[in-house]
């Protein structure tokens, strides 16, 4: 099976072409100022380099979130439209799991972190068991302090991601009696090859209903829900 894996959930843009578990080609850049401008030319280039046509891709795998809302929408819209228009498969993988995937530590909780500003983070916790990643704390939007509370049950912790270093001091203070490690530079960035590998193992999803996992309501919606207890079942978007 040929896979195209796309991660545009944060500043890093990473794409990879896989033949089953094997890497055909990949590119990861931190110089994509604007994923809207960069993503499609990079996909076209990568395919050209390896003499493949987009029609040879059997499955599109995309990092589905959390992350930057705009970045997620560019990646997800691109992947879902490819899958739909070429009648191919679509798989979404947690953007946090992508960061956890290359960490080869056992008996250690792996905590990928994205900064969500104002002392909040997007984070989850993962354990490597039988060479599989098991999610032990679901991906969520959470104040850093609350996350650290939840982690106090574990003894060995491995924080990963560029943003994890920003919080290093606070983490070390709060979790002072734990064994704590932080990812080294080369593991700080999402690599679409790992995304592709994880996407290979998952079941394809329904294309039309697939949307990013923002993990946060918009402010307008949460304020509206506070004032309007009644459920919000009626359809908000209508065909005219």
């Amino acid at each position: 099976m040929n896979i195209l894996a796309i991660d545009t959930s944060n500043e890093t843009l990473s794409i990879a072409i896989l033949k089953n578990k094997n890497l055909v080609a990949t590119i990861t850049t931190n110089q994509s100022k604007n994923h809207s401008v960069t993503l499609m030319p990079q996909i076209a280039n990568l395919l050209k380099q390896v003499n493949m046509s987009i029609t040879e891709i059997d499955r599109f795998v995309v990092a589905k979130g959390p992350g930057s809302y705009t970045g997620l929408r560019i990646g997800v819209t691109t992947a879902k439209t490819f899958a739909y228009t070429l009648s191919k498969e679509l798989v979404g993988v947690s953007s946090l799991a992508v960061l956890a995937a290359p960490i080869n530590e056992v008996n250690t909780v792996i905590i990928p972190i994205f900064d969500a500003r104002r002392d909040n983070v997007f984070a989850g916790a993962y354990l490597r068991e039988n060479n599989q990643l098991k999610n032990v704390i679901v991906d969520q939007h959470i104040p850093l302090e609350k996350l650290l509370e939840k982690l106090s049950d574990y003894k060995r912790l491995f924080f990963v991601g560029v943003d994890s270093h920003k919080f290093a001091e606070r983490i070390k203070i709060v979790l002072k009696d734990k064994e704590i490690q932080f990812s080294a530079n080369e593991l700080d960035y999402p690599q679409a090859y790992y995304l592709g590998i994880m996407g290979l193992a998952q079941e394809p999803v329904d294309i039309h209903s697939f949307v990013p996992k923002y993990l946060r309501l918009t402010q307008a919606e949460s304020q509206w829900l506070e004032k309007n207890q009644e459920s919000n079942d009626e359809s908000l978007v209508e065909k005219i």
């Binding site: 604007n34 809207s36 401008v37 960069t38 993503l39 499609m40 030319p41 996909i43 076209a44 987009i54 029609t55 809302y69 705009t70 929408r73 560019i74 997800v76 819209t77 691109t78 879902k80 439209t81 490819f82 739909y84 228009t85 070429l86 294309i207 039309h208 209903s209 949307v211 990013p212 923002y214 918009t218 402010q219 307008a220 919606e221 509206w224 309007n228 009626e234 359809s235 908000l236 978007v237 209508e238 065909k239 005219i240």
Partner: protein, 343 residues
């Protein structure tokens, strides 16, 4: 194609600049094979106006569904298409990006040219479904975000000769609608109320004396709001239909007057009325009356059902751009503040 049968040129068009996700298939620039519009109006009504992040999220829920329906209703395959057109501005950046990303993928996956379309050119080309556009022409574009007079010397050429200095006409309608406690978007509602009332308040007509083609509606809006607030303070009950009629008459008078000035300065064959506010009955009547004074100029009004945002109009404008050799590469980005050039 044999038997002298001309190949039909099909444009697949995407529109997602604000709160409608729309995909259409247009034949030869003037025939609608499908025009699927998913509107988010109900969703944004909750907030009294369009919330950009909510709009972007709805677009991504809808975009492939609209694409599927548009292709199916048109009964065409990707092989039948000549090009893919997409609105790349102006509008909400997050909303635009969904249409742009999707259109780029379809164009690339099926080896089709990608045609970038200015949303406002799209509004003008809604009129193309009524009849052919004859150049030179002037368009009065009145919508939720824009109020402008556009000169079109020839096909695919758009130059602004005047625009609003502050609020767009549609925006003013929606804002005074809120003051009257009406649901968003209030334009249509106020239009209906206006027909039940009379112009009794004599609100100001802005910039009528100035030697330009520009508009201003914020003074009118303030005068309206002050009148309503003052009445509330002194416990006076105003006739809302008269308020609506007075507001509308002021808007229409200014629009018609500036259009008249433009028709006197530019020699044109057609006057085109387009944009969401082009659905306004008072404005349509006002321009009918104006055009009666000019024997050589035809008034072309966008069809009522195509005044609001839709991809059919983008397909019609895209067809013209495509015929004129325009195209974009895969790096096409959304341009939220895209504008026609000034004359």
């Amino acid at each position: 194609m044999g038997n002298g049968e001309k190949k039909r040129e099909l444009i697949l068009a995407f529109e997602s600049s604000c709160d409608e996700t729309s995909v259409a298939v247009i034949e030869d620039g003037n025939k609608i094979l499908s025009n699927v519009v998913a509107t988010q109006v109900k969703s944004h009504k909750r907030f009294g106006g369009v919330v950009p992040e909510v709009a972007s999220r709805h677009h991504i829920e809808q975009v492939t569904l609209c694409l599927a329906d548009a292709m199916e209703e048109a009964k065409v395959t990707y092989n039948d298409l000549s090009a893919v057109a997409v609105t790349y501005g102006p509008g909400l950046v997050g909303a635009l990006l969904v249409g742009v990303a999707s259109a780029k993928v379809v164009a690339y996956a099926h080896n089709l040219p990608l045609i970038p379309v200015n949303h406002m050119a799209g509004h003008i080309y809604a009129a193309r479904f009524k009849s052919e556009i004859k150049f030179p022409a002037i368009a009065l574009l009145v919508s939720g975000g824009h109020t402008e007079l556009v000169y079109m010397a020839r096909e695919n050429s758009y130059q602004i000769i005047g625009e609003t200095r502050d609020d767009a006409a549609g925006e003013a309608y929606d804002k005074i609608g809120r003051v009257l406690g009406l649901k968003y978007p209030a334009g249509k509602n106020i239009d209906e109320m206006a027909h039940e009332g009379a112009d009794t308040f004599a609100f100001p007509r802005a910039m009528m004396k100035e030697e330009n083609f520009d508009f201003s509606f914020s003074g009118l809006k303030s005068a309206f709001i002050n009148t309503v607030h003052h009445a509330e303070q002194v416990n006076e009950k105003l006739n809302v239909n008269d308020l609506a009629a007075s507001f509308q008459q002021s808007v229409v008078d200014v629009l018609v007057y500036k259009t008249e000035r433009a028709l006197n300065d530019f020699s044109v064959k057609q006057l085109i009325l387009a944009g969401g506010v082009a659905a306004n009955q008072g404005l349509r009547d006002g321009l009918d009356e104006l055009i009666g004074k000019y024997s050589g100029i035809e008034l072309l009004k966008a069809p009522l059902n195509l005044c609001g945002d839709n991809a059919a109009m983008i397909g019609a404008a895209g067809f013209v751009a495509w015929k004129n050799g325009e195209s974009a590469d895969l790096s096409l980005n959304a341009d939220p503040s895209l504008e026609f050039e000034w004359i």
